[in-house]
Amino acid sequence: MLKTGDPSRHAASAASWKHAPKTKRDHHPGALGAASIIAAIVLLPVVTLMVIALSGSGADWPHLVQNVLPRSSVTTLALLIMVAAATASIGVTGAWLVVAYDFPLRRLLAWALVLPLAVPPYLAAYAFVEFFDFTGPPQTALRALFGFKTGSDYWFPDIRSTVGAAVVLSSVLYPYVYLTARVVFLMQGRNIADVARTLGARPMKVFLRVLLPVARPAIVAGVSLVLMETINDIGAVEYLGVRTLTFSVYSTWLNRGSLEGAAQIATIMLALVLALIFIEQWARRKQRFHGARATHMKARPPRVGLKGWRGLLATIAVLAPILSGFGIPLYIFGGYVSRRLDQFLEPALIDAFLTSVVTAACTATITVAAALVLLNAVRLSRTPGAAAIVRLASMGYALPGTILGLGLLLILTGFDNLIDGLMRQWIGIGTGLMLSGSAAAVVIACSTRFIALAEGAIRSGLDKLPPHLDQAARSLGRTPAGSAREVLLPLLRPAILTAAVLVFVDTVKELSATILLRPFGFNTLATYVYENASRGVIEDGAVAALLIILTALVPVVLLSRALMRDAEATQI
């Protein structure tokens, strides 16, 4: 995919040669040109949506302003704040405990903490409602205990609420923060912690005053992924009866027939997300944290053993989010699956499984490669402009999937029909819907959606590397590419692996863009589940849902083992 635009790449770089002042930075036209093309491809659907938004008349706004937006903005904001706070606490605490301490079951829990990532939010919403509902275990136990008969005899918190939605989303989204934070804690140089400790700081203070601020960029990267996923979610919030801005986007488009109005709301949401991210970056504009030497990237202080009740407490603290985000869905869907074991052998399901794996593997490869190209351009150019464009390129993630999918649909069909028309004219044979009629559309869509994941995960690793590593390698005669290959890439291994796994898992879960853009006969596990869920028999999709979780499990375990091996091999 990245090679498609070779001719235009040269054109673009030639153009930049002409206009830009001739400084040293311009010595990488290839790298920068490739990055511009990727950024352009990823931005195209977003731009398309903005064009649609601009074509609107604004006739929807009186209604929106008066009856919709005030409430849905407040709801969305409340949801975002709660989810951000919850995922940051869970993710950072989990990562820190697992990296810095030793306690019972630590090795197992270290990778199990990632498990909720495999649960699509709308399935989690369904599972939580089933679990905490009248017929679920907690309420049944309550009734048995106190002799209540009906639901009106006692009070029980309603999961179908904004707080409930925050609980559900936090339970399955915190792994984004956990993963990015863990990478940083693993790459953490021991020196700053050691210095603080020799100056008399107690471990808790070392963590709060030294390590946490150092990890802040990574935590922010993780939390912004969580927030984007929260803001683009429609399945979970709809099921839980929470009216967010995304819900308004869909009801404006589908119920009031105004795609333009929907695109306008989506564009404003995007602007808000951008503003938040840039404000955060501005707030820490003067902070820079790097290790002093390459060895410090890998050497970590030995784990502190927690014994007795402290160890138990740590185990419980780490186990709780896993039970919530993974245990509850597993309990609900496992029950359905136990009555449908024969489905595992259905050809349709096996087919969907293979499609999911192949699509996810392709998407992960493409997005990681694209993210590396983008970040490499930032490294080489070192201008704020380049960094801004790269951040911008990953903004599509904050858009509701179907809306981004629509933007892409218009681009792809426009391209296909253009080529088709030209071919008919020139050689008399049409090429039909070359991209939009094939599985390529799905891979392109997922890559466009999830480049933010890869970019965020790798950038948070890259930020930890001191620039002088690169400079030293270059001054010792390495080319920029050679330095990247031999020095930076090996050090970035944990971050790259994390990025690949995040994208893989999210692609396996991806539904809204896949279902809009897929060709005939193209079923993934997620579409298989959804076909059943959407006709009210989510039970029949349970086997596929479990397969999603299992499919995601394999790379997650591999990742965890790789990270641990990296860490332990270098431990002194």
Binding site: K3, T4, H63, N67, D133, F134, T135, K149, G151, S152, D158, R160, E238, L240, G241, R243, F247, S251, L254, N255, R256, G257, Y336, R339, R340, D351, L354, T355, V358, T402, L406, L409, T413, G414, D416, N417, M423, G430, G432, L433, M434, L435, S436, G437, S438, A439, V443, I515, L516, R518, P519, F520, G521, F522, Y530, E531, S534, R535, G536, E539
Partner: protein, 351 residues
């Protein structure tokens, strides 16, 4: 019926990677095939499509979408492989027509088979099955066996009613029907009263409504007829039988005009590459045989006069359907959606 997706995927990727036209096969549109773009889940239409293939030898391919089907066909333009569009809601049919992705069909067989209120006057879409939007009522706690939609706003039901999101297609169609009969002003008054009667914020789906009756959270719930049949016969999840047994079906009427029904329907795509086969499929879907399969398998009401509903569906009681043409009802969808926002129906009873 379907090619290997792995192969397709590889072909697709090759297409992107080398961006060459030679390696590309346009989606093969073999003879004797119909391509269906469907809002209706493949499992639900499979029995009837299998019967069609057996009878005619024409193969079918189904692409299921949940949103944006009309936009996709419009974007694909003349190259669109879509022959037939299937939907589950009247508004999607009228939208397809408005968006210009359908073509009119004047087929004597179909016109004779389907009553006029369930098809487009210009032949752009046709209803295939019907479902009533009815009231599920607790057997234990609700003495009434008859209710009108207007009664649902009666303060005596305060805190007793459950419903899914007011912005859901099925509810918007119901509110549109009320607007068509009562006008906006009266409907809005009614909706305010109805909102005050809710037991909780609208959420979940129709089945969740039935479950809430079972749990005692509400006495009445608004739902589609076929879910009752599906719950009654759910052998895999027998607890759903308990939910269905805790309730009875009441067919409300709009001031005596009858119960609001919605349709699942079909339309002929504008650039249908296999038009001949597509028309055969549409004729088949409007035949006695297909209508019977539908009625039996998915607990819906046939659209055709003279084809009976299944025994389970008949056990709910008699459906006296509102005869106002659905095309008329669909016009009020936007007004209904705005009204739901204005009244704040989805915010629940407290606000």
């Amino acid at each position: 019926m379907k090619r290997s997706t792995a192969l397709q995927l590889r072909a697709g990727l090759a297409a992107v990677a080398i961006s060459s036209f030679a390696a590309l096969a346009t989606p093969a549109l073999a003879e004797g095939k119909v391509n269906i773009y469907s809002y209706r889940q493949p499992d639900l239409i499979k029995p009837v499509l299998d019967a069609f293939t057996e009878e005619t030898g024409i193969e079918t391919e189904v692409l299921f979408l949940d949103k944006g089907l009309e936009e996709r066909i419009a974007a694909e333009g003349e190259n669109s492989p879509a022959d037939v569009i299937l939907t589950v809601d009247i508004a999607r049919l009228t939208k397809a027509k408005e968006q210009g992705v359908t073509q009119p069909l004047d087929d004597a067989d179909i016109n004779a088979a389907l009553p006029a209120e369930y098809r487009d006057p210009e032949g752009h879409w046709f209803g295939v099955t019907r479902r009533g939007r009815v009231v599920y009522a607790s057997k234990d706690r609700v003495a009434e066996d008859e209710l009108s939609y207007a009664d649902l706003a009666d303060p005596k039901w305060k805190g007793k009613i459950c419903i899914r999101s007011g912005q859901h297609d099925y509810n918007l169609a119901l509110f549109s029907a009320l607007i068509a009969h009562w006008g906006e002003e009266k409907t809005e008054e009614w909706m305010k009263g109805f909102k005050a009667n809710l037991a909780r914020k609208p959420s979940g789906n129709d089945r969740a409504g039935a479950k809430s009756i079972y749990s005692g959270e509400c006495d009445l719930a608004i739902g589609n007829t076929y879910y009752v049949g599906l719950m009654m016969t759910n052998d895999k999840e027998p607890e759903q039988k308990d939910w269905a047994n805790a309730m009875k079906v009441i067919f409300p009427s709009i001031d005596g005009a009858g119960t609001h029904v919605n349709i699942s329907g079909m339309a002929l795509a504008k650039h249908a590459p296999n038009k001949e086969e597509a028309v055969k499929l549409m004729e088949f879907l409007a035949s006695d045989e297909a209508q019977q399969i539908y009625a039996a398998e998915v607990f819906e009401y046939p659209v055709m006069d003279g084809v009976e509903a299944s025994d389970i569906v008949k056990s709910f009681g008699d459906l006296n359907a509102d005869s106002l043409p659905l095309a008329e009802i669909a016009k009020h969808r936007k007004a209904a959606s705005e009204m739901v926002d204005r009244v704040g129906l989805d915010d629940g009873p407290a606000s």
